[in-house]
């Protein structure tokens, strides 16, 4: 459903039409679908927030919270910030919103253990956003994989929210990680990516083409 709507919605957002408040009902329904079906459309969601900004009487806290939650599923991208910039100060301080902001803060500062604890204490926050936890795990895997070459297996399990061994296996398969049999998980050879660099200048043709062409013309 949500995928089918993507094109229709894109047409609604073309040019000056994106500011038409009559589209709001459709767009809000689309946000809801994204939550239910675990799809994501940043552009449409930003359009909703913009319509709220222009027409404050239509503002809905619940939809805004949904949009912010969806933005978190797209970490490490900074979508959450982009969305937050369109929410005014009064609304930023509503309880429903500050709860999401708190989660965002934990994730952005990589305090993953605290994040999972928070989720277990207030599970209703993520209710209705299907696939939220796995999206977050995906983000965690991303951060871990750029930070570690080998990581203690127990630590990894904890970072991912105390998951079961067999679940960890799935994530490891997905990213091609392997168990080294000594309690560590080997993620990637970082020595290749992270090494003392000697940056030598490279000039590509494109950046000098203009200048060369100009000198020939005269």
């Amino acid at each position: 459903m949500a995928e089918a709507m993507r094109a229709t919605v894109a047409a609604l957002l073309h040019g000056i039409d994106r500011y038409n408040p009559e589209n709001l009902a459709t767009l809000e329904r689309y946000v809801d679908l994204q939550c239910k079906e675990n799809t994501y459309d940043l552009e449409a969601n930003l359009a909703v927030l913009k319509l709220y900004q222009f027409n404050p009487t239509y503002y809905q806290t619940a939809v805004t919270a949904q949009i912010l939650m969806k933005a978190l599923t797209n970490l490490p991208h900074s979508d959450f910030t982009l969305c937050k910039c369109l929410v005014d100060q009064v609304h930023q301080e509503e309880e429903m919103i500050t709860r999401v902001t708190f989660l965002a803060d934990l994730l952005e500062t990589c305090q993953f253990k605290l994040f999972w604890k928070e989720i277990s204490l207030t599970p209703e926050v993520i209710e209705g956003v299907s696939g939220f936890e796995d999206s977050v795990r995906k983000f965690i895997c991303h951060v871990v994989s750029i930070t570690y070459q080998r990581i203690d297996k127990q630590t990894l399990l904890e970072l991912l929210g105390d998951i079961e061994d067999h679940q960890l296996k799935q994530w490891m398969n997905k990213y091609g990680w392997r168990d080294d049999g000594e309690g560590f998980v080997f993620l990637a050879n970082q020595e290749e990516n992270v090494k003392t660099k000697n940056i030598v200048e490279k000039i590509d043709f494109e950046s000098v083409a203009g200048i060369m062409a100009a000198s020939i013309q005269r």
């Binding site: 930003l46 982009l82 100060q89 930023q92 990589c110 930070t147 070459q149 992270v194 090494k195 203009g210």
Partner: protein
């Protein structure tokens, strides 16, 4: 367009451009007549007498617009008008349009253009700024101008210099922004003023402003044109009747930059960058001949990137335009409105660059870097130490004037609400900095070693090992930015880290890598070639004139 150029052309239409301001001598010397005059003055405002110099100026100006003499219009716009302003209307307004009317045979289009300058001058120079009525009238004048240009079956026969066209778009948005701030300052407003504001919700409405910009973009097919242009084709082939016409083409292009600015003022950074998708900021294009437009564009693009946590792109954007300003500074006209604006943006961008480089240290151009140290060195040290106030100060000084697109609640107790939009953006920025505040310290320790056990390093920083590992993850996350692969511009990009210090953890050891950068020569040579070219061009222009 360069300063220091005298305008001898003046002689064509008057012998004494700087003659004594006789028309201002209203007193007759005869006490009775003077008394009579004063009495008359109290009853009704006296008919304003347009000074002869101004009369001749207006007539000549009108003639040039009628002839479509773009070069002369440019000269009037950038030189004569400013000089006459300096002489006669330093703090008072230019004559109202009705006094000009007879001089220009009621030429409606000219009167609209004249009023554009007239109101802009009131906004910029007249004490106390525009009143409510003038704000409304200026809005209507812009509507008239855009209606005249847009509601046509074929292009209108009007030619204006690019600088003026850009200033029209820029000023239109400025006045909108100024109005929203004015509207949200309720504390000193009388009931009647609030009444008028309340009953005119359509004036300076955000939808109208967006509508104008979008219409200009559409009418000129500028996006198609830019697409074809960047793929090496001939833009005219897709421009259509309107888009081929320079007035429409340039207004379309400037409207894109206008939209960038407007979206930024609303905090919509995604759309801000999005509207420029067809402009290649790296290419010195056909369209980038107006320096104030270029500079403004880079300022907003850089700012949007900074807010999106794309520091590498932000740094590259700021560095490249600061270099450009450094190179061309001497050529800007000093007394024009633009000069002050450019210098202001220059300072603002150095502050933003200081913020970005504190959060994301990387190598930049040497000459920009030395200027940065001079201007913001002390501030940067404070920011590196985690002084939040220093971050806040830099942001407040350097950010755009954010606005709220809707009217305040007029029922609310009279207070000033114009800062709310700013406060909201400031908060987002401060939240982001807060998340990263420990990183500079972590970095300064990492820098000292090549390998070190995690626990030992944590000890140096007075942290538990677990806390420290969290910081290290955060370091990696924040230092990995989406970076556009094709130079500046655009939303697309991939995650990259160009940070000076990088590391990875293997089991319980941190392995640290530093970056050593060899000297670069290419930039230096390209810069010198450009400089030389520009000099050659200026000489050429001087030669054709004399």
């Amino acid at each position: 367009m360069y300063g220091g150029e005298d305008y001898q052309d003046y002689d064509q239409y008057g012998q004494h451009p700087y003659g004594p301001p006789e028309p201002y001598e209203l007193h007759t010397g005869d006490p009775r007549a003077d008394l009579e005059y004063e009495r008359q003055y109290q009853q009704a405002p006296p008919a304003y007498i347009v000074p002869d110099v101004i009369k001749r100026f207006i007539e000549y100006f009108h003639k040039c617009v009628g002839d479509g003499n773009v070069y002369e219009i440019g000269n009037i716009y950038e030189n004569s008008f400013n000089k006459l302003t300096e002489r006669f209307f330093k703090t008072s307004s230019w004559p109202e349009a009705e006094y000009i009317m007879p001089l220009v045979k009621n030429d409606n289009v000219f009167l609209i253009l004249y009023k554009e300058l007239y109101f802009r001058h009131i906004y910029a120079k007249v004490q106390g700024g525009p009143n409510l009525e003038q704000r409304f009238e200026s809005y209507y004048n812009y509507c008239n101008l855009f209606n005249y240009i847009l509601n046509q079956k074929s292009p209108v026969p009007l030619e204006l210099p690019n600088q003026w066209l850009w200033d029209i778009i820029d000023e239109f948005i400025y006045q909108f922004q100024s109005f929203t701030h004015y509207r949200s300052k309720l504390s000193k407003k009388g009931d009647d003023e609030i009444m008028i504001l309340r009953s005119n919700p359509k004036i300076w409405n955000v939808h109208s402003v967006l509508n104008v910009l979008h219409s200009l973009v559409d009418k000129s097919s500028i996006n198609r044109q830019l697409e074809v242009f960047s793929s090496g084709g001939d833009p005219d082939s897709v421009a259509g009747d309107f888009g081929r016409h320079s007035l429409y083409k340039m207004l379309g292009y400037f409207s894109l930059v206008g939209l960038l600015r407007l979206h930024s003022l609303l905090g919509d950074y995604y759309q801000a960058i999005r509207v420029l998708e067809n402009i290649d900021l790296n290419k010195q294009g056909l369209y980038s001949r107006v320096p104030s437009c270029q500079i403004s564009m880079y300022y907003y693009v850089g700012f949007a990137y900074m807010m999106m946590r794309r520091y590498q792109d932000a740094i590259r954007t700021f560095t490249s335009i600061l270099l450009y300003i450094q190179r061309t500074k001497t050529m800007f006209q000093r007394q024009s409105y633009t000069f002050d604006m450019i210098m202001k943006q220059n300072e603002q961008m150095f502050n933003l660059l200081a913020v970005c480089l504190t959060l994301y240290p990387m190598r930049i151009d040497e000459s920009v870097h030395s200027q940065l140290r001079e201007k913001c060195g002390e501030k940067m040290i404070r920011m590196q130490k985690g002084d939040m106030q220093a971050f806040e100060d830099s942001f407040s000084f350097a950010c755009p004037k954010f606005l709220s697109p809707v009217a305040p609640n007029y029922e609310a107790p009279p207070a000033n609400y114009h800062k709310e939009a700013f406060m909201a953006q400031l908060k987002v920025f401060i939240d982001e900095v807060q998340q990263q505040i420990a990183l500079p310290v972590v970095r300064s320790y990492l820098k000292l070693y090549t390998t070190m056990p995690v626990s030992k390093l944590a000890g140096f920083l007075d942290m538990t090992e677990e806390e420290f590992r969290t910081h290290l993850l955060c370091f990696k996350h924040k230092m990995s930015n989406v970076t556009s692969s094709k130079g500046t511009g655009g939303l697309d990009g991939e995650f990259q880290s160009a940070s000076e210090v990088d590391f990875f953890i293997d089991k319980d050891m941190v392995h640290i890598a530093d970056t050593k950068v060899a000297r670069r020569y290419g930039d230096f040579f390209i810069r010198q070639i450009h400089k030389f070219e520009e000099m050659k061009r200026s000489f050429g222009e001087l030669q054709t004139k004399s």
